[in-house]
Amino acid sequence: MPGNVSALATEDGVRAVYAAHGAELFRFAYRSLNDRGLAEEAVQETFVRAWQASDRFDDRLGSLRTWLFAIVRNVVIDLSRARAVRPALAPGETDDVIDLTDDSVDRILGAWQVEEALRMLSDEHRIVLVEVHYRGRPYGDVAAVLGVPVGTVKSRVFYALKAMRLALEELGWNDDG
């Protein structure tokens, strides 16, 4: 995985960085802007800004991924503000794009990070975590639906949380806050 911003110096490098991070940047932008076209525009703009500021990137301060997400966060705010003051481009175009503030985009980034980590879990782990924690279903009910003992469900929840921590850390999360 390309972790050095100098990769952006060549066309192949840009393609490699896109292959590693493009889809997740898009998903975050789409989650924030609720508009596919605008989300793709955000990804393009993120790569342009990253290339323009590549001399300021210091990999001792953070990963390329973290740096790209800091850029896309600002791009999303800029695009949402530009979109909020602009009339709809075509009849029927959705007007769900809101003027995002720094706080609201940070909340979305936090939510997206946890959702992305949940997607990274195995089905077995994700199902028990969603059913037990998010749906609030009793362990016994979940065990009955899955056809396994209650103890197995409890054990899976434990390993799901452990896997969740690894996934979150991979996505740049830390438990400082």
């Binding site: 393609r15 793709e40 290339w51 009339p87 481009l89 949940l118 409890k154 438990d175």
Partner: protein
């Protein structure tokens, strides 16, 4: 990591972290934690993860939107465009410096005339917006960018502003014009080199954006 002897407590630790403890097991778990530093540390780790969970919306987990297959190529193209623009700008500055030197040497007219002949031109088709359709021909000139704008659907007698924007977001006014029931055709100039222009847009008297398009020279 919890020692093997503590394996039986794992489910209870996870339940405690999620605040889903079995009341019957709660006292026993507390007693175990009092004497087991490894399980206390394990519980702290699990609680930190559990605290992050409420941020997510589980109904969104099935939403695994992917960008279009064209996006990779578009990203490469956009970066290449900006790279080329920056290179052109450097060349332009070098040529301008050469022109100044040439002028000082007495044959500047010839060099400036040649620069004018090689000036770039690009055409922008604005996305239709609220019944307004427009296109613009942008011509790079020594004094900035000359814009020939043809638009229809604008409000008669409304005053419009034409703007150009550079990569840094700085906007330059290219002038004003009045709308008409007929097609409007105006030529305005903004003091921004075409190579530096990344956006062209029009605002109305209320400062609302009426037309907007990127410029890819």
């Amino acid at each position: 990591m919890t020692a093997d002897a503590c394996r039986e407590w794992r489910g209870a630790l996870a339940a405690a972290a999620l605040e889903r403890e079995d009341p019957a097991q709660q006292i026993a778990l507390r007693a175990h934690l009092d004497g087991c530093a490894a399980c206390r540390a394990e519980l702290d780790d699990l609680v930190a993860v559990a605290r992050a969970l409420p941020a997510a919306d589980p109904d969104r987990l099935a939403d695994t939107a992917q960008p279009s297959s064209r996006l990779a190529g578009q990203v490469v193209e956009r970066v290449a465009e900006v790279r080329t623009r920056r290179r052109r700008r450097r060349i332009g500055r070098a040529l301008a410096a050469a022109a100044v030197i040439a002028a000082l040497l007495g044959f500047g007219g010839l060099l400036v005339a040649n620069l004018g002949d090689d000036a770039e031109t690009t055409t922008v088709e604005f996305p239709a917006s609220d019944g307004v359709t427009a296109r613009a021909d942008l011509h790079g000139a020594v004094h900035g960018t000359e814009v020939r704008l043809e638009a229809s659907g604008l409000e008669a007698d409304e005053v419009y502003w034409l703007w150009l924007t550079d990569e840094g977001g700085e906007r330059v006014a290219a002038g004003t014009f009045r709308g008409s029931d007929d097609e409007v055709a105006v030529t305005l100039t903004g003091a921004l080199p075409l190579a530096d222009t990344v956006r062209i847009w029009v605002t109305d008297e209320a400062d609302s954006v009426v037309l907007d398009s990127p410029v890819r020279s």
